[in-house]
């Protein structure tokens, strides 16, 4: 009797960790986080403002990456929720008298609630048509908000200083770091942006490592095959759409708290809140968590040093994006990861096969 034929000759195990040691990465991440938290004590106001921009663009990029890179929902309409969140912040704090800090999570919640009916409509379109459908949705939201005369109609409105100064902790930061009120306000915004960005990273990471994340990876690789294996495609996509809408809404609320001025055209701008975000994800590497981080840093540097070139800068972004899509569709991180077999945020599952008994399997 041949035992080897009956009993499996190998044992299997599934691991999510990458090759690099996890402890070292965790320590490095903690160190970076701590530095970023303490940064306002040393850094000037310009750096703080730049980092706020970097953080919220990164949070938006992670959301879009989860949508397009994993769930196959290529949205060109994420400005819907940036604008919606921004307008909710204005409505809640200006008209409702709610503290802006509290208004941010409420804006996220309401964004999620509105994302459900929005999804039920745009989900009727598939693939590329979904993309344009989400864009139409953003236009609908933009035109509707332009009708609210109490929020400035088509020209928009500004937050009064009493609202922007109502953020908790401003006094504390002022006395602690000995800075003027506007600087203290930026520092609070900076911490909120940092918290949102880190929260988004952790959220996306946990989602991707969860059971649902496995389903998402399967959808990314082959939708029909995933469905065949029992993944509920519709519900998974819906959950991702609503969750990213909530995060995007909160980011939008923060963006417009920081800007303190909103108008329908700016808040629902496809260039600012979707084109740039797509560029970040594509250049960094779509379908990975590390890609958008790299992309956001590159985009921030380009924005800082090249944005003065105006139209030429945007042409350059378009050309670069097209080149990457054609010649390196997995982006910069995809290139690095392939070359050095590197993973910082391991979300891929590896099948580890170990032979049980060498002698037996030789036979």
């Amino acid at each position: 009797m041949d035992d080897g034929a009956v009993q499996p000759a190998h044992s299997f195990r599934i691991e999510t960790a990458g090759r690099a040691s996890r402890g070292a990465w965790a320590a490095a991440a903690l160190g970076i986080l701590l530095t970023l938290v303490l940064l306002p004590a040393f850094a000037g106001r310009n750096i703080i403002q730049d980092l706020i921009f970097l953080f919220y663009m990164l949070a938006l990029a992670q959301c879009w990456n989860l949508l397009a890179g994993y769930a196959g929902l290529i949205s060109v309409g994420q400005q819907t929720f940036v604008g919606f969140g921004g307008y909710l912040l204005f409505a809640l704090s200006l008209l409702g008298g709610i503290n802006p800090m509290l208004a941010i999570p409420i804006a996220g919640l309401i964004s999620a609630i509105f994302a459900l009916p929005t999804a039920l409509v745009v989900f009727r379109l598939r693939g590329a048509y979904f993309a344009i459908g989400t864009w139409v949705m953003a236009e609908v939201y933009r035109l509707v908000f332009a009708q609210f005369k109490s929020l400035g109609g088509g020209t928009g409105t500004s937050l009064s200083p009493s609202v922007t100064s109502a953020m908790p902790g401003i006094e504390w930061v002022r006395t602690l770091l000995d800075v003027r009120t506007p600087v203290a306000r930026d520092i609070i915004s900076y911490w909120v942006a940092l918290a949102l960005m880190v929260g988004t990273l952790v959220f996306v990471y946990l989602v991707l490592r969860s059971r649902r994340g496995l389903a998402l990876g399967a959808i990314r690789d082959h939708e029909a095959a995933a469905a065949g294996l029992g993944v509920d495609i519709y519900r998974t996509k819906l959950a991702v759409y609503i969750a990213t809408a909530a995060v995007t809404g909160m980011v939008g609320a923060l963006i417009y708290l920081q800007k303190a001025r909103i108008s329908p055209d700016a808040a629902f701008s496809v260039l600012d809140w979707t084109a740039y975000v797509i560029f970040i994800v594509v250049i960094g590497g779509i379908g990975t968590m590390e890609g958008p981080v790299i992309g956001a840093v590159i985009f921030y540097l380009m924005q800082r040093y090249l944005a003065d070139f105006g139209a030429w800068y945007l042409i350059l972004l378009g050309v670069l994006g097209i080149q990457i899509m054609l010649f390196a569709p997995r982006g910069l991180w995809g290139f690095i990861a392939e070359r050095y077999d590197l993973t910082v945020l391991p979300t891929r599952r590896l099948l580890i096969v170990t032979p049980k008994n060498r002698n037996q399997s030789k036979k």
């Binding site: 397009a68 196959g72 290529i74 060109v76 409509v121 009727r124 379109l125 693939g127 590329a128 048509y129 993309a131 344009i132 459908g133 864009w135 139409v136 236009e139 609908v140 035109l143 509707v144 332009a146 009708q147 496809v270 260039l271 084109a275 797509i278 594509v282 779509i286 105006g310 139209a311 030429w312 945007l314 042409i315 972004l317 378009g318 050309v319 994006g321 097209i322 899509m325 054609l326 569709p329």
Partner: protein
């Protein structure tokens, strides 16, 4: 009452313009399943090309468009050969993102060359000419020409699709890409021809876009959305459906504007969403996709 009758007539005529926007999009999607996010910007680009030729050569826009046609046809061929054919495959992302990048490049390129100023194609007396239909309703000559051109373009496209060897190749690649290739169809050539043809329709759409209203480099995306809405309302795969979709969209906009001018664009979008919810495959669907 006259106001409402007028809104209906103007809406149908406006629908002709949207059908022209949509016909090119519908053609490209039908043949190669490519959704071109730069479609609106290409219409604006063509309008600037006509404007440029008309000014340089001192031509009437109706003549300038005849000069622009072959140039745009070749541009379309080249665009498909050099760029877009490389993006087509099982993955949806490359064609979408490449055309999205193209849209940004075209908008900003036009901005650099022609500035953000509003432009208009000038064709003398015909621009303002109109005739009375009775009942207090008058129609402009240009809007009527737009609708007639849309009908002509659709008849022309249907003729090509259903009565020529090229059209047979279009339908074959549309139905089954691999089988068409096995039958000896050079797919990249067929796709390039389809894009060239789409550019011809784009040129005609651009002519009427520029004659009917002001245009500037930033208005492309909105034209893409109208074109897309017309295609979806009409149902995929049928050129006549696209015409109907354009007219439904035009009617929704003029009727909305009748209530409040600010609602014009919004009511067009809402009509699209209503159709999407009630009849997700459009009013006159033809293909399954």
């Amino acid at each position: 009452m006259t106001d409402w009758l007028n809104a209906l007539v103007q809406g149908i005529l406006l629908g002709g313009l949207y059908a022209l926007f949509a016909a090119g999009l519908s053609l490209i999607f039908g043949v190669m399943r490519l959704v071109n996010l730069a479609h609106g910007d290409l219409i604006v680009l063509a309008a600037f090309a006509i404007l440029f030729l008309a000014a340089k050569l001192g031509l009437d826009p109706f003549v300038a468009v005849l000069v622009a046609l072959p140039i745009l046809f070749v541009t379309g061929l080249a665009l498909q050969y050099v760029l877009l054919n490389r993006t087509l495959g099982r993955d949806l992302l490359p064609p979408l993102l490449v055309t999205f990048g193209l849209s940004i490049i075209i908008q900003n390129g036009l901005l650099e060359i022609f500035s953000a100023d509003s432009q208009r194609l000038r064709s003398g007396a015909i621009e303002t000419a109109s005739f009375a239909l009775g009942g207090g309703v008058a129609v402009g000559v240009i809007p009527v020409l737009t609708l007639l051109s849309a009908v002509a373009a659709i008849v022309f496209l249907n003729l090509i699709f259903y009565h020529t060897p090229l059209g047979r190749a279009f339908r074959a690649t549309s139905d089954d890409l691999e089988a068409a290739q096995l039958m000896g169809i050079d797919v990249s050539r067929i796709f390039a021809m389809a894009m060239g043809l789409a550019f011809v329709v784009i040129a005609i759409a651009a002519l009427y876009l520029g004659l009917r209203a002001n245009f500037d480099p930033s208005i492309g995306p909105a034209r893409l959305l109208y074109a897309f809405e017309a295609v979806i309302i009409g149902g995929l795969g049928s050129f006549w459906g696209t015409l109907a979709g354009g007219i439904v969209l035009g009617l929704a906009q003029t009727i909305g504007a009748q209530f409040d001018p600010e609602w014009q664009i919004l009511s067009g979008h809402l009509a699209f969403l209503v159709v999407l919810v009630l009849r997700p495959r459009g009013l006159f669907p033809r293909v399954l996709d």
